[in-house]
């Protein structure tokens, strides 16, 4: 049996990991204890890689583990979450309060805390994920509350629009299916299987048909200061899209990129938007579109983009990074997905021409450059999406 001290320290470590968005359950902690108490653990170099293999579940966990491990075990167990990956304590505190207000504070890593994790209701899960990938450096500490910006009618209208877009998709898929009927092939194996009951006489034929992949929509939303007038509106739109499409992913970027679909997958709009507003803390800082796209290309593109993906970027194109980088990343994106749609709210303004250097660099790779300053302009996208 492990010494009480070891057990407590391990529980503390598991707790720190959980605080940092790792999914650590009872099973992992138990296994870790088993490793710690085995003779092999006497070798100090084994401990870190072993615990890493055990506690990490994704590449982003993997990247951050060393930092947390060193901070915890070498920093004599002090709570290190302030310094990790630049998550500022200011933005962290409200996030924690929101989800864990009902958890007694002294329950550090003790069973009731673990249970909360393992029963895995949507709320805590989405919240944890968001915190892990959505950490953003707060450029201006102003907490922009997206809730109060939008009036109820607008919300309803955006949602109706997203739902309509989804319906258009479905109609298009049905059409595809009919076309495919001509080219289908007989599935011999399955035909024989199905007709075993007729003594092998093939009455009932089985046809082979390709599985239909729905069009996937990936939205990258610019949440920088220059977009702040529109962000609230688009966050609602994002929620509608993620809610209605079976395959949709949403990202928010300002100076860095955050994957927000897990937080948006909540039918309760207010709750989802509330959570997202916490993540969009960078609002008001500059925009590094190129860098954000690079992050997207590097870590997310392979996973979220397939050959049937339309990528929608919502941004005004005011980039504080290098336009060359933006251009290069756009070129890379172009190769991956079927269509790139760039929605620019500024197009709706009179006398606008895409002069921003970033916008200039990105334009050659964009299939559709369209305005998005009001609901009508979004609705105008429908026929285009239907054709993809």
């Amino acid at each position: 049996m492990a010494a009480l001290g070891t057990r407590r320290r391990l529980a503390g470590f598991a707790h720190t990991l959980r605080d940092n968005g790792f999914r650590v359950g009872l099973a992992e902690t138990r296994d870790a204890l088993q490793v710690l108490t085995s003779p092999a653990a006497l070798r100090p170099t084994l401990l870190k890689p072993a615990l890493r293999a055990l506690f990490c579940a994704t590449h982003s966990d993997w990247e951050r583990f060393d930092e947390i491990f060193d901070a915890f075990w070498q920093g004599r167990g002090m709570r290190q979450r302030q310094i990790l990956s630049g998550i500022p304590s200011a933005s962290h505190a409200p996030a924690r309060k929101l989800a864990e207000a009902h958890v007694p504070q002294e329950a550090l890593g003790l069973p009731d805390r673990i249970e909360r994790k393992s029963d895995g209701d949507g709320e805590t899960q989405a919240e944890g994920r968001g915190r892990r990938e959505g950490a953003s450096r707060v450029e201006k500490l102003a907490t922009t509350d997206l809730r109060h910006v939008v009036d109820p009618e607008e919300i309803a209208a955006t949602h109706a629009l997203a739902a309509r877009l989804a319906r258009v998709m479905r109609a298009r898929l049905v059409r595809r299916d009919q076309i495919r009927r001509r080219g289908r092939r007989l599935d011999l194996r399955r035909t024989i299987h199905r007709n075993v009951s007729h003594g092998g006489m093939p009455f009932d034929l089985a046809w082979r048909r390709r599985k239909i992949k729905p069009l996937r929509l990936v939205v990258l939303l610019d949440a920088s200061g220059s977009m702040s007038l529109y962000t609230a509106f688009f966050v609602r739109f994002l929620h509608g899209v993620v809610d209605a499409f079976r395959e949709a992913e949403a990202f928010v970027f300002h100076t860095r990129l955050a994957h927000v679909s897990p937080s948006l997958r909540d039918h309760d709009v207010t709750r989802a938007v509330e959570r997202l507003s916490l993540m969009a803390q960078g609002i008001g800082g500059g925009t590094r579109i190129g860098e954000s796209l690079a992050t997207f290309n590097r870590w997310h593109a392979r996973r979220v983009i397939n050959s049937r993906t339309a990528l929608m970027i919502v941004s005004d194109g005011y980039d504080t990074g290098e336009p060359e980088e933006l251009g290069a990343e756009m070129r890379r994106l172009r190769r991956r997905c079927r269509k790139i749609i760039w929605l620019n709210p500024l197009i709706g303004w009179r006398d606008y021409s895409p002069q921003a250097r970033g916008m200039q660099a990105a334009l050659p790779y964009v299939d559709l450059f369209a305005p998005a300053h009001n609901l009508e302009s979004l609705a105008a996208l429908e026929p285009y999406l239907a054709k993809i």
């Binding site: 084994l46 072993a50 293999a53 590449h59």
Partner: protein
């Protein structure tokens, strides 16, 4: 009887896989906790090799299940041999046997086709089961796999439940084309396989390429590391490095600096798209050579 980490490392080296400390630990832990290991990483970093080497270390059979979209239980687990069943029905009809007996007969093990997953749990000695590119399979299949990995038993309606005779060592690989479910991730140990560092890659070249000398291997490893830093569409993997090393050894190149021309021309081993090829011009390759030498 469990091996300790250094043993694993040594044995891996003996079968030609140069492991770093992290992967050796992961393999040790896999043995210690009896959990599957999930390997992620870019294409070409040698994820599949890990499973092959593991099988060699334990002198176990390697059973490989290549995942693809639309992979179903019939292809992964078991299937009845319908053709044989039909034949059996026809021949026995002639003899005049009764229906129950025929049914009993055609749904026996004789007519069962083992697919990789069933095969893996029915071996007497535990094999290594490699579930390759699990991210390509559908979500439904992933759920099914998860069930199998936790219970190690399979139920076949006509035959009953088949329990594992031995628990296989399971290695899963993923290229990250789709997000895997959290349940599967949590079931597995996780290891992110990165491109090997220069020293390790040089060692890999030395073990895998007969008759190459140490300095050349080191030069090649440095050069490849430099090429990987360039902005390429398809970053060369370890397999490409080995191809290139074999080519250079075959051309009897002994020092990369002496033969920039040969280096540039043989770089087709590393660069697999026209665009990358165009990007790495003579000047660029000369510049990289200057850096590595």
């Amino acid at each position: 009887m469990t091996l300790d980490r250094e043993d694993i490392s040594d044995k891996l080296a003996a079968v030609g896989y140069i492991a770093d400390r992290d992967i050796a630990t992961a393999l040790w832990l896999m043995e210690f906790l009896k959990r599957p290991l999930l390997l992620e990483g870019e294409a070409g970093v040698g994820k599949t090799e890990v499973a092959k080497a593991l099988a060699a270390v334990h002198s176990a059979e390697l059973i490989r299940l290549q995942c693809y979209e639309g992979l179903d239980q019939n292809a992964a687990l078991y299937e009845w041999n319908y053709q044989r069943q039909l034949l059996a029905i026809k021949t026995r009809e002639g003899v005049g046997e009764d229906a129950d007996a025929i049914e009993e007969h055609i749904f026996s093990e004789k007519y069962l086709l083992e697919r990789p997953l069933l095969a893996a749990i029915r071996r007497v000695t535990p094999p290594v089961l490699l579930v390759d590119e699990v991210d390509r399979a559908d979500e439904e299949f992933e759920a099914f796999l998860l069930e199998l990995l936790s219970d190690f038993q399979v139920s076949i309606p006509e035959l009953g439940t088949i329990k594992a005779t031995s628990i296989p060592r399971v290695v899963l690989t993923s290229n990250g084309t789709r997000e895997l479910s959290d349940a599967l991730r949590r079931r597995c140990l996780y290891h992110y396989v990165d491109f090997p560092d220069v020293d390790r890659e040089a060692k890999i070249i030395l073990t895998r390429t007969p008759g190459i000398d140490t300095t050349l291997a080191l030069q090649i490893a440095r050069m490849v590391a430099a090429v990987r830093k360039e902005d390429l569409r398809k970053v060369p993997g370890v397999a490409e490095t080995l191809d290139w090393a074999a080519t250079l050894a075959g051309l009897e190149v002994h020092d990369l600096r002496q033969e920039p021309e040969a280096v540039h021309e043989t770089m087709i081993c590393l660069l697999k798209t026209h665009e990358d090829r165009a990007r790495l011009t003579r000047e660029v390759s000369a510049r990289l050579l200057g850096k590595v030498a």
